[in-house]
């Protein structure tokens, strides 16, 4: 067997450098269990995939969706709605934690093995198309965010690519995860921007308790509803979190901490998303039309209301959102490719051993970066449709997920119970319904006022 430290024998499986690094991480976890304050150590050691997937999904187009929501509707229905979408995201992503901990297989690997290559290819095609479009929007966000600080587009894209290369080439999952988590914390810069926007606490409390004022039922509302759902529940998240948890070495006894990791990620991401919507409320109150705004436009338009520091933080937040998402989404593509082609697919591999994995990861990021630099490319349309496409391609992914997590042959006692199934089916139906309404409104444009 290639790349093994110790070859296999009938009794002993072969060992790779990936196994060795993962075993060292697992040993730390095992030792933390015996300590008095072990739960705190365990939380520190086991946190990662959940926070990364949730804050990674608070990406450039998602933050722009929240910003557009706040600028179009002010404080009202969409604030509790954003919270609801992250609850849906938690319900869905928690299942990937159990799948990873029980099967030690990535999402693409499981779909191919249990459903066969025919259905697996469809799932992979949805993922590849969605990931490419989303990656392009991340670089658009990075370009726009850094553009606010006067960085030229080419330099902005090259800087982002350099960060991705540096983080990935640590060749150690643990280091990659900690660097990415540090980067993810910058997602919270939208909180001070929201404070600088001086929101009315009474209006916010009313919005969260009653969901009022409700938006008018028109095409813009429908598109923003879909964009906000697509900003929290997308196919790449399933593939990423499951593969990252497998790469981390999460096992059955870690499932509770995996849930905590996912819940903490959902909470932080919801706070950042809601803060972004609140931050752009001044544009609503001053009747500024933000319907055609891109990343840096929001920061510039907000400057008179949140000051230059607030505007700079907003631009920084959009840059970070794009950068973290580019790292996680490119990783999800590489994991899926490696799992399906049975090539080494771990961030614990050396470059020599895992070169196909690293090549796919960097090629995915590089291709998206190159597309962003094409003059006159219709990038704004990709930004508009990327979250909508995520919602529309989600139902098949949710069905694969629900069937897998109910498969007692592989899940044993970790299979879904009745409550988890009820929640999972509800989320799937809700997302299907949202997509169908969008489809009907597109085919019959007269049904909804524009």
């Amino acid at each position: 067997m290639a790349h093994t430290i110790i070859p296999s024998s009938p009794e002993i499986p072969p060992l790779t450098s990936e196994d060795l690094k993962r075993a060292r991480d697992r040993l730390r976890v095992a030792r933390a269990r015996g300590h008095r304050w072990g739960w705190l150590s365990l939380l520190w050691l086991l946190i990662g995939p959940g926070v990364l997937v949730m804050l990674g999904e608070n990406d450039a187009p998602s933050m722009l969706s929240y910003a557009a929501t706040g600028a179009t509707y002010g404080p009202g229905f969409f604030l509790p709605f954003i919270l609801l979408t992250f609850l849906m995201a938690f319900i869905v992503q928690e299942m990937t934690v159990r799948l990873a901990a029980t099967t030690h297989r990535g999402h693409a690997e499981l779909i191919f093995e249990r459903f066969g290559p025919f259905w697996g290819t469809f799932a992979l095609f949805d993922l590849a198309l969605g990931n490419l479009m989303t990656l392009v929007t991340e670089f658009i966000g990075i370009r726009a965010g850094l553009g606010f600080f006067g960085v030229p587009p080419l330099l902005a894209v090259l800087l982002a690519l350099s960060v991705i290369v540096l983080v990935v080439l640590t060749r150690r999952y643990w280091t990659w995860e900690r660097l990415s988590l540090a980067l993810a914390l910058f997602n919270l810069v939208f909180i001070p921007v929201a404070v600088l926007a001086h929101p009315d606490p009474q209006q916010l409390v009313k919005a969260f308790l009653t969901g009022r004022p409700f938006p008018s039922w028109d095409k813009t509302t429908l598109l923003l509803l879909l964009a906000d759902i697509g900003a929290t529940v997308t196919p790449w998240m399933l593939f990423f979190q499951q593969s990252a948890a497998v790469d981390k070495g999460v096992a059955r006894q870690d499932i509770a901490y995996g849930r905590l990791d996912t819940a903490l990620g959902a909470l932080l991401a919801a706070i950042a998303g809601i803060a972004t919507a609140i931050a752009t409320n001044p544009l609503f109150f001053h009747h500024i039309n933000a319907s055609s705004f891109a990343g840096a436009d929001f920061a510039r338009a907000l400057q008179p209301y949140v000051g230059s520091v607030g505007a700079a933080l907003f631009a920084l937040g959009i840059t970070e959102a794009g950068l973290l998402a580019a790292i996680t989404i490119a990783s999800s593509s590489a994991y899926a490719f490696g799992e399906v082609t049975r090539q080494p697919h771990s961030l614990n591999r050396s470059l020599r051993e895992g070169w196909p994995f690293y090549c796919v990861l960097l090629l995915a990021a590089g291709l998206a970066a190159a597309l962003v630099l094409i003059p006159n490319a219709p990038l704004e349309f990709i930004v508009l449709i990327v979250n909508v496409y995520a919602v529309l391609s989600m139902p098949p992914a949710l069905v694969f997920l629900t069937v897998l997590v109910n498969d007692r042959d592989i899940m044993g006692e970790q299979a879904n119970g009745p409550l988890a199934n009820l929640l999972s089916v509800t989320v799937t139906l809700f997302i299907c319904l949202a997509g169908l309404v969008y489809g009907i409104a597109t085919v019959f444009p007269g049904l909804l006022p524009s």
């Binding site: 067997m1 790349h3 093994t4 430290i5 110790i6 296999s8 002993i12 499986p13 072969p14 060992l15 790779t16 990936e18 196994d19 060795l20 690094k21 993962r22 075993a23 060292r24 697992r26 040993l27 730390r28 095992a30 030792r31 099967t103 030690h104 297989r105 499981l110 093995e113 249990r114 459903f115 066969g116 259905w119 469809f122 949805d126 070495g249 096992a251 080494p344 771990s346 219709p378 349309f381 508009l384 449709i385 909508v388 496409y389 529309l392 391609s393 139902p395 098949p396 069905v399 069937v403 498969d407 042959d409 592989i410 299907c432 997509g435 969008y438 489809g439 597109t442 085919v443």
Partner: protein, 71 residues
């Protein structure tokens, strides 16, 4: 607190702890592929319906983009 075993150890005896730390399916090179599950007619119909749904919706999105580009 005990120190972690150094990474440079690489004899079979030294690496016994690796085999104890990981579950059988966590070894990268020794995973046995799972058997394919039998897809019942209900599940197959659902998968096909959703596949057609995604294709139709993708066409709709493409149409929307085309309309936006050619007003």
């Amino acid at each position: 607190m005990d120190k972690l075993p150094p990474a440079h150890m690489n004899t079979e005896h030294d690496l016994a702890w690796v085999r104890e730390a990981l579950e059988p399916d966590q070894f990268a090179e020794s995973k046995v592929p799972l058997e394919r599950r039998r897809l019942g007619p209900g599940l197959l119909v659902l998968l096909w319906v959703l596949r057609i749904y995604v294709i139709l919706m993708t066409v709709l999105i493409a149409y929307q983009v085309w309309q936006a580009l050619h007003p």
